[in-house]
Amino acid sequence: MINDAKVIEIISDALKLEKGSVSMNSSSQNTEEWDSLAHLSILVALDRYLEGRASKLTNLATATSVKAILEVFAKHGLRSDD
């Protein structure tokens, strides 16, 4: 399971941004560092945190916003409320 704050933290670290730079509204459209290669780093980090469960979620490939990622996790029962 993964909560919203952890997703934001993981994305922030993968993009090498300071805490607070990534928010619920962040996406590849409004975050310069979030390009196609950076998205791979995000996927790797999420998969590592979820011990291999993220790599099974093919929709993550096109989930290039914080909200989209959280929606994918929610759909597969991996999004935690706490």
């Binding site: 390009d35 196609s36 290669l37 950076a38 998205h39 791979l40 780093s41 996927l43 790797v44 998969d47 590592r48 291999g52 790599s55 099974k56 979620l57 093919t58 993550l60 490939a61 096109t62």
Partner: protein
């Protein structure tokens, strides 16, 4: 699972004529963050062929090197793995037969596969030998993906190189090749594709040339979900422990992909071979080139158990085990 009384006896390769480093990419694309790109791709230089050079030209050069090791008269089968054919037809392997002056009794055909192509080709070469259809099989991989890549394509240009390799597969007294485990998922066909120029686009091209498109994230997700499962399944069916494999040599897709696979499979650093930094991703040639380099640097030696795995465009994948035998 089947093992084949065949072995790899020699490998030679040829890279594109023009060395292209990351400074050149930066000059062409000033907004690219090259340090970041290089840290993820692991590639600092690529080899690009001249406009006039085709995959068959590169293949010829690789094969001529092999003929320093074995007389061309002994070659009875030529398999060419390519997605950069000289023409829609005829078969590029037929053209290569003529260019190399091979006997007219040589069996020649193309395999239209990319990153998984060497493993598929090796399975066919081994099958020919096992069945007696062939004794000295020349398995050639050749691609010039650079001709499909736009110079401003940030996904593909930093990664791909042009190259050809020629691998001599011969009969062995021992079962040195196999087993194999291969698979396909055509639902991902459009994740790595040259969409234009052929029948589906009514032979039309954008800006006069076909263009490669890769959805890197989708190909990545496919790789890390499918390949560890394939490898674990191969080892299980071959009754082989992960620790018994002396070296894992994968298709040199990019550093971020290889690092993820290594971590996922829990492979020790000294058993995982990288060599794409100064060569790039040479598509189906990446595994034979890595095998050659691993042998040249003594990273692998006689009797070592090697696991090779190719995966990508199609989506297609294949892995196999082989006992390494010293080259001719």
């Amino acid at each position: 699972m089947i093992k084949f009384s065949a072995k790899i006896q020699a490998i030679e390769y040829c890279l594109g004529e023009i060395k292209e480093d990351n400074l050149l990419l930066k000059r062409d694309n000033p907004d690219w963050r090259m340090d970041d790109i290089e840290s993820k791709t692991g590639v600092s230089q690529r080899w690009i062929c001249k406009d006039s050079t085709t995959a068959v030209d590169l293949a010829c050069k690789a094969c001529e090197e092999i003929f320093n090791k074995i007389s061309k008269d002994k070659i009875d089968t030529l398999i060419l793995v390519t997605q950069s054919a000289d023409y829609f037809l005829p078969t590029s392997a037929c053209i290569l037969q003529d260019r190399l002056s091979l006997s007219k009794s040589t069996k020649c055909f193309d395999i239209n596969l990319g990153c998984s192509g060497f493993v598929y080709g090796l399975s066919i070469a081994s099958s020919f030998i096992e069945s007696g259809l062939g004794s000295n099989v020349l398995l050639v991989c050749a691609d010039t993906y650079s001709k499909y890549i736009d110079k401003h394509d940030r996904t593909n240009r930093p990664i791909f190189s042009d190259a050809a390799s020629a691998t001599l597969v011969v009969k062995s007294n021992q079962q040195d090749i196999g087993p194999f485990l291969m698979g396909t998922d055509g639902s991902g066909y459009n994740h790595l594709i040259v969409e234009n120029g052929a029948s589906k686009s009514k032979y039309s091209c954008v800006d006069g040339r076909p263009k490669l498109h890769m959805n890197g994230s989708s190909v990545f997700m496919f790789t890390i979900s499918e390949i560890p499962h394939n490898i674990n399944q191969l080892l299980k069916e071959a009754n082989t422990k992960k620790e018994d494999v002396g070296m894992y040599i994968f298709h040199q897709a990019s550093k971020i992909v290889l690092d993820s696979l290594k971590e996922n499979l829990n492979i020790e650093n000294n058993k995982f071979f990288y060599n794409s930094k100064y060569i790039g991703n040479t598509v189906s040639s990446s595994i034979p080139i890595a095998l050659k380099e691993a042998s040249n640097t003594s990273a692998i030696s006689e009797g070592d158990l090697i696991l090779i795995s190719g995966f990508g465009v199609g989506l297609s994948w294949g892995s196999c085990l082989l006992n390494w035998r010293e080259f001719l």
